[in-house]
Subunit: 167 residues, 3 copies
């Protein structure tokens, strides 16, 4: 570990503690943002009566629906619900790797507070804008640029870790 | 970091070590529970001869199947396999954020052992019940309540982190 | 925590620091490998003009396309793009749990450097081979064995954590 305390073990340097303190808040914020999409899908499904498994129609849908209607409705897809689900999946594919890469970047490459916080803030802003661009939706290339900026922040940190790393 | 040791670096307090020791076991348990779903999908696919890519039909399916049959079978969907896959995706969307939020919650908000372990146990119980409710399936709102309880445990921790946090 | 420094707090032992240093590089590498799949999907979509939401056709597709054509093209699926997306999802389902389980395994079971690094290297090799086997594709059971080996590395670590754990 980069920040050895020199006593045979390793702790965090003051700079790392400072970075992690801000990082923690962004992690909580981004996870919350991502989880809100689950609730958005649920509320859309209930409002539109559009579910994907039988027991959801029985529990939340119109009790008069015939089996045939349920089968037809399950096979169809609501475009906006699929859009929220895609947004959610894109978050999973981008935010989780960001968090894991950021942790090893902060611990093992000894970044300055400024550099680390900059990566974290740019990523968070890009992903919040990505969600807005996906759900409104904004015309392309808004969503693409949001994805690109967030992705490059993570890649920049990952490359730094690999560059200083040993296999 | 909340648990500064006061020597310029930061270590874990005894309480945090105690919490993390229990947390570690639940992380391993929940990941194992989630990964078992991969094997469940694989065994269902082989038993039903229902795959999604050509080389799977060639390697695991009936060798006499015509190209036309393979195309038709790939386009169709087995409802129960899709159900397991949805259960697995729901786990990804909920368990991974829980683990990441719990780490920053334990490290940066100085929770009591009781409060932290309670959050972790409630979440684990809710997610195990969620899997049972999805796969049997149990009538709604069983699965919805399981999702809700697990989700609220994570949100409760995330809000605590944000409340004490700095941007 | 297994590696108590005996001063009321807990730090990392020298062995753990050594393991984490190598682990960090593999985390960055595996995340990078996973994220490259996003760019692969994007480039395939642009090359084939096959998108899933309306604004992508307007921003990146043929501007002369009629609404009817867009609707038809959105409903159809490109088999190779779906294959890359499945590969990406399989990575999410396997690599993220590996990283989280490996962290608690290194911190709480006091593995030897050899044993820990072996788990990490086997997993990384298996997942890189899995991606190659999925995207070329190689005949089965190549992809299945790659999944199996990676999955067993994670399960082996998880069981070790649970075995030594307390609830």
């Amino acid at each position: 570990m980069a920040a050895e305390t020199g006593k045979g073990g390793a702790g965090l340097s003051e700079i790392q503690s400072e970075i992690f303190q801000a990082f923690a808040t962004y992690v909580a914020l981004l996870m919350l943002k991502m989880m809100v999409l689950s609730y958005f899908v649920i509320s859309e499904r209930i409002l539109k009566g559009q579910f994907v498994v039988r027991e959801d129609y029985e529990g939340f849908g119109d009790p008069q629906m015939s089996k045939e209607e349920i089968r037809r409705k399950t096979a169809s897809r609501d475009l906006y619900i699929e859009r929220i689900r895609r947004c959610h999946r894109n978050d999973l594919e981008n935010i989780i790797p960001f968090v894991l890469v950021a942790v090893v970047y902060i611990l093992f490459t000894n970044p300055t507070t400024e550099s680390a916080i900059l990566h974290i803030r740019i990523f968070a802003a890009a992903r919040i804008f990505h969600t807005v661009a996906y759900l409104l939706p904004l015309p392309q290339p808004c969503r693409f640029l949001a994805f690109l900026v967030g992705s490059l922040a993570t890649i920049s940190m990952a490359i730094r870790v690999i560059y200083e790393g040993n296999f």
